[in-house]
């Protein structure tokens, strides 16, 4: 029989199950520990590792997008039909009331052009965080690809967590457990240090391998380099 291996992604509830098992805790601790696990995962995905999510959306007739509910930060937006993604340029001068389906920014008048290399970008965006809207110019009623930072917490099915994050979530739960159980300041601090070490380790796992770094550098340099 062929060998089988455990999954590289784990349900967040199963991580809490395993935590209770390892720490010999009763099931009655599950509910608060699961809530803490969500806090830890959300904070890591949204603010520490900042793994991006991709979503294909369609702008309305005026080129406006409503942000996904889980969006906590913006990375970029590009036309979904492009084979090579050219991100829109942020334009803080974009007048969201004046730019409509029939009235676009005059691209030729937009300064030095995209990337400072003389090219003129046809597409712009402006973000309204309070209203949770992304206004675009040049991409009215089009399919666009939005890259953004998400909370990472699923509401349609159980949240799956990368196995490399399990030690970090474990140590976070252990730290919060000490607070819930009124442990001494020293003990809480000891567990906090352990947690911070695991955060550091989790981030190290996410560093790109050397070959990937080399490709990124070569991809951004002038064409003269022979690869």
């Amino acid at each position: 029989m062929a060998a089988t291996y455990s999954s590289a992604v784990i349900k967040i509830g199963d991580i809490v199950d395993a935590f209770l098992l390892k720490r010999e805790l009763p099931l009655s601790r599950y509910v608060p520990m699961l809530e803490y696990a969500f806090d830890c995962f959300r904070a890591h995905v949204a603010f520490t590792s900042r793994l991006y999510y991709r979503k294909t959306m369609t702008t309305d007739v005026n080129g406006t997008l409503t942000m996904p509910d889980d969006m906590v930060d913006f990375i970029g937006i590009a036309l979904a039909s492009d084979t090579s993604l050219w991100y829109f340029t942020e334009n803080s001068k974009l007048n969201i009331d004046a730019v409509t389906a029939v009235k676009d920014i005059d691209d030729d008048l937009e300064g030095q052009g995209y990337g400072g290399r003389g090219g003129i970008n046809d597409y712009y965006y402006k973000i309204d965080w309070t209203g949770r809207k992304i206004y675009t110019d040049g991409a009215e009623a089009q399919s666009v690809m939005l890259f953004y930072i998400s909370t990472g917490v699923r509401t349609d099915e159980e949240t799956l967590v990368d196995a490399s994050l399990v030690p970090m979530i474990d140590s976070y739960l252990y730290m919060r457990l000490a607070e819930n159980d009124d442990k001494s300041i020293n003990e809480i601090d000891r567990r906090r240090v352990a947690y911070e070490r695991e955060v550091s380790m989790a981030n190290r796992y996410k560093l790109p391998p050397l070959k990937q770094v080399r490709d990124i550098i070569l991809n951004h340099t002038a064409q003269g380099i022979v690869r």
Binding site: K11, I12, G13, D17, E24, P26, L27, S28, Y30, V31, P32, L34, E35, F38, V153, R154, T155, D156, E157, E158, T159
Partner: protein
């Protein structure tokens, strides 16, 4: 030792005013139960996992029904026997599993948590695609378990549950697990309770 033997040994050790006066069985049972509960609580304080030896499963052969209260739209199961009250969310109900021991997991929660969970990640993010609520929760309310998140499979299959039962629930012929190494202490504790009373006042006129 069976329940009947325990009761008889207490009865036999109590002093008698005359040949007919004796303590009523129910009074002795209550005294033993209260002493046993105290020792079960001590076990719980030391390590709740040790209560497994005093837990009896119900719903093994015939599932315990999961029923909907149509007015509140809550699902519940009647707890089939009295339980030893313990200072934990699940009290004397030590575990709940689907009757088929399927993959649904049950976690105890307090009534307060049940109110808060509806708007928390626990309540909104634990469903599984295509087969919602593989993680269910329950709160103990008197002689009922109230559920939070149950799926239709569970409702049709029913559940089984492990309960820490008090002395009074055992049949006379059943073996009773005396708390670990506490046989003498249980006996002495029971005797101390009963010795304070004059047996003539406790005469059972329906016997002898």
């Amino acid at each position: 030792m069976t329940k009947g033997e325990m009761r008889s040994s207490v009865q036999g050790a109590l002093r008698r005013i005359d040949k007919t006066a004796k303590f009523h069985d129910a009074l002795i049972d209550r005294a033993i139960e209260s002493s046993m509960n105290q020792f079960l609580y001590d076990i719980y304080r030391k390590d709740p996992r040790d209560l497994d030896a005093y837990t009896r499963e119900y719903g093994t052969e015939v599932a315990l029904a999961v029923t909907e209260n149509e007015s509140t739209e809550e699902y519940y199961t009647n707890i089939p026997v009295p339980y030893v009250a313990l200072p934990e969310k699940n009290s004397g109900v030590r575990y709940v599993v689907g009757h088929n021991r399927d993959h649904t997991k049950f976690y105890p929660m307090s009534n307060r948590e049940m109110l808060l969970a509806r708007t928390s990640y626990v309540g909104s993010s634990t469903a599984e695609d295509g087969d919602p609520f593989t993680r269910s929760f329950y709160a103990v309310q008197g002689q009922k378990l109230i559920y939070f998140q149950v799926n239709s499979d569970l409702v049709s299959a029913g559940v089984r549950m492990g309960i820490v039962i008090p002395f009074g629930v055992y049949a006379d012929s059943e073996e009773v697990n005396v708390p670990f190494g506490q046989d003498d202490k249980v006996f002495i504790s029971v005797m101390q309770k009963l010795m304070q009373q004059q047996p003539v006042d406790q005469r059972d006129n329906n016997k002898d």
